[in-house]
Symmetry: C2
Subunit: 391 residues, 2 copies
C-alpha cells in the first residue's frame, strides 16, 4: 500500500562548469525533474552534498537549494555522508515519502568542485577519512584506496594492467553518454602509462573532479504513481523495491578486512531482503567506481562476483551487454563523472531511465530489476537501492 515510486528525474551535464554556481546547477536539475514528472511540485527536499561548507563557505544548503529551485518554504536539509551523500539523502527522502510526512519528496544532490584549486579539492575530499587517526599522518584519500588496491593485487595475484580494463570500458560507455564528463576512449596502454597518483593508482584509474546536480522525485502509493504515469503516457511504474544503508569504521585500520567492504554487504542485504530478491536477480546496476579498485570491490561486495574474482571476470567480458547484471552503462563515476554528493542521485536517475527504456546513452537489455550503489569514504558508508519496473 505504501510503496514508494520514482516519478521524475532531472540532472545537469556533468562537467567542469566554471561559469555556473551550485544553486544554478541545482535549479536546472530540479526544473528538469519537475518537468519529467509532468509539472509535479515537490513539498519536501533532501539535498546530498559533501563539500559546500569547506569549498563554498556555505551551510543552510537545503534551504538555499529549495529557495533557488522555486520551493521556498518546504522542509529541506542537507545530508552529508562524504561521497555517499547522495545515496544517504535518498534513504532520508525515501523515509519521508514512506512515512507520509510529505506527499512529493525531491531527493537531490549537488557538488561544485571546480571553482577551487585542485589541492583545495583534494584536501576537502580527504575529509571523508578520519581527521584524527588518518589524515593527521598525511595520507590522501587516493592513498587510502591505493593501499587497498596494493593489498588486493598481492592477495589475489593480479598485475597492475589487469585493473586497467575498468577505465577502458567506462570511457567507451562515456563516449556514448551525452551528459558524461569524459567522452574520449582510452586504451589499456594509455591507462597504464598515465601519471601515478598514489602507486598503484594511475590518473586514469581515478574519477574526475566534477560539477553537477541531480534530482529524483518520489511519491507514495501505487494509485498516485499510476495516475502520474498515465497523464504522461508512460506504461511503466518505477518502484523503490528496497533500500539499504550501512556504515563501517571511518579509519580503515579498525576494519576486520580491508578488501571486503562490510558496509556494502550489509546495505545490499537490507535492500535485497526488502525487495525479495538476491544478487542474481539484478538485471542492471550502477556501481560506485571512484577508483578502478573501488568498482571491483563493489561488484564483489554486492555479490555479483566472488572475492578476488571480479577483475578476472571483467577481463573475460562479464557485466557487458547481455550479461546479468549489466553494469555502469552511464560510464560510471570514472567517465560520467563524480559530482560527489550528487553521484548517488545520478545513479538512481540512470537506473530509472534504463528501466523506463529512455536512457540517452548505451541502453541496457530491457532490465526489470535495477540497482544503484553509492559509497562514502573507503566503504565507510554504503547505500544500495533496488528499483523495479512494473506494468
Amino acid at each position: 500500500m505504501n510503496e514508494v515510486y520514482v516519478v521524475g528525474v532531472g540532472f545537469t551535464k556533468v562537467d567542469r562548469l566554471f561559469e555556473r554556481s551550485a544553486r544554478d546547477l541545482f535549479a536546472e536539475a530540479m526544473a528538469k525533474a519537475v518537468d519529467d514528472a509532468g509539472g509535479l511540485k515537490p513539498n519536501a527536499l533532501v539535498v546530498g552534498n559533501m563539500t559546500s561548507s569547506v569549498l563554498m563557505e556555505q551551510d543552510s544548503l537545503g534551504a538555499l537549494m529549495a529557495d533557488y529551485s522555486g520551493l521556498r518554504g518546504v522542509p529541506a536539509f542537507k545530508v552529508e555522508a562524504a561521497c555517499g551523500s547522495g545515496g544517504a539523502a535518498f534513504y532520508a527522502g525515501y523515509a519521508i515519502a514512506k512515512s507520509g510526512l510529505a506527499e512529493v519528496v525531491a531527493v537531490g544532490g549537488v557538488e561544485k568542485l571546480t571553482e577551487m584549486p585542485t589541492e583545495s579539492v583534494t584536501k576537502a575530499l580527504a575529509q571523508a577519512a578520519d581527521a584524527d587517526y588518518e589524515l593527521i599522518h598525511g595520507v590522501s584519500f587516493t592513498g587510502l584506496n591505493a593501499m587497498a588496491m596494493r593489498l588486493y593485487m598481492n592477495k589475489y595475484g593480479y598485475r597492475y594492467e589487469d585493473f586497467a580494463h575498468w577505465p577502458v570500458r567506462m570511457h567507451e560507455y562515456g563516449s556514448l553518454n551525452p551528459y558524461a564528463q569524459l567522452r574520449s576512449k582510452v586504451t589499456i596502454e594509455q591507462v597504464v602509462k598515465s601519471q601515478v597518483i598514489a602507486d598503484p593508482i594511475r590518473l586514469l584509474d581515478c574519477s574526475p573532479i566534477s560539477d553537477g546536480a541531480s534530482v529524483v522525485l518520489l511519491v507514495r502509493g501505487e494509485d498516485r504513481a499510476r495516475e502520474i504515469a498515465r497523464s504522461l503516457g508512460r506504461d511503466v511504474l518505477i518502484e523503490v523495491a528496497g533500500v539499504g544503508l550501512a556504515t563501517d569504521s571511518v579509519d580503515i585500520a579498525s576494519r576486520r578486512s580491508l578488501l571486503t567492504l562490510e558496509s556494502i554487504k550489509i546495505a545490499a542485504q537490507q535492500a535485497y531482503s526488502m525487495a525479495g530478491v538476491n544478487s542474481r536477480r539484478i538485471d542492471y546496476a550502477e556501481v560506485h567506481d571512484a577508483f578502478s579498485i573501488t568498482g571491483y570491490m563493489s561488484l564483489e561486495s554486492l555479490g555479483f562476483s566472488d572475492e578476488g574474482k571480479s577483475v578476472k571476470e571483467w577481463m573475460e567480458g562479464r557485466f557487458t551487454k547481455g550479461d546479468k547484471p549489466e553494469v555502469n552503462f552511464s560510464g560510471g563515476l570514472k567517465a560520467r563523472g563524480h559530482p560527489v554528493g550528487a553521484t548517488g542521485v545520478y545513479q538512481v536517475a540512470e537506473v530509472v531511465m534504463q528501466l523506463r527504456g529512455d536512457f540517452p546513452g548505451y541502453k541496457a537489455s530491457e532490465p526489470e530489476v535495477g540497482l544503484a550503489q553509492n559509497i562514502g569514504g573507503v566503504g565507510t558508508i554504503s547505500s544500495v537501492i533496488v528499483l523495479r519496473r512494473r506494468r
Copy 2:
C-alpha cells in the same frame, strides 16, 4: 498505530570542554540515552551538526559517531541545517522511525566549537548566511540579527533595555540547571553595560560558544513504547504528537518581512495540525534564543504573543511558572548554552524530561503538551516538535 515515542534521552554537560573530542562527547550522550531507555540499542542514527567540516576537517560524521558510540554498521548520516541541524535531524529520524525502516532510531547532535580561535568559530557560524549575497559584504551572523533587532525596536517603539529581561531570566534558570554552561545570574544593568557586539546586540544578549552532545531514542508503536516504559517502572509515555519543518530564503533581503519568521509559522502550523492542537494548548516550550531578539520573535511566530507584544508581555512576567506556556526553564540557548547542531536535540530532551517530571533543574508545572522549536540562520530553517505525555 504508527505513532512515534521518545523512550530515552542523554546528553553531556554543555560547556567549554577543551580536553574532549566530539566523538568522546557523542559517545557519552549515546551511552546515557541507551541507559535511560533500559539498554535499548539503536539500529539507525541521524546526527545533527553544523561545523565539523570546517572546524574539525571531518566529514563522514554519521558513521564516525555511530562507530564511536558502539553502533558500527547501522545506517547513519549527518544532517546540516546550520543552527537548526538538531531539529532537522529529529525530523529525518522521526521519518525513519515512522516509516518502519528501523526499529529503534537514535537522533543525536554534536558540536565542538571551543577547540578553535573565536574568530574561526564566528566565521564558521556565519556560513548559515548566504555566502554569495550576504557574507561577501562583510556582515557577521550577529550583524544580521542586529538589523532585525533594530528594525523591531523602531517598528514597535522599544528601548534597548526592554530586551534585557530575556537574558536576566535565562541566567536565573541557568543557575538552577546543573548541566547549563552559564550558571551565574546577571542584572539588567550588567546586560545593558556589556560589550556591544553588533549594535544594538550586547554580549549578554548572545548565546555562548559551546561544546556538547545530545541523543534521543525513538521507537514506533504504543505497545513497544509501553513495554519499555513498564520495564523501567515509568507510568508515562512521551508521544511525538506533531513535527514540522520549514524553510525560507537564506538571505534576509529576499524576505517579505524581516520580523515575521515565516518558517517558524509554517513549521508550527504543520506540527500543531498533526498534533491536533493550537498554540494555546502548549503547556511548556523550549524556544530558540540564540540572541534575545530571536527569543522574542520565536514567541510571536509560534503564536504565543501577538507581533510586537512579546517584549512587553515578557517584562510583565508572562511565560514564567504557572503561565501557559512556561518557557525555557533550561535556561535556553542563552544560559544552557548553544552547542549548535546539538541544540535542537537538547530542547527535545528537555521537553521530554519536563513531561516526565524528571528535569534536573527548574521544574515546569506538570505539563501535558510540550514544544521544542529550533532555528537555523535568521529563520532560514525552523523545526517545531510537539510532544505529549500519555498515561
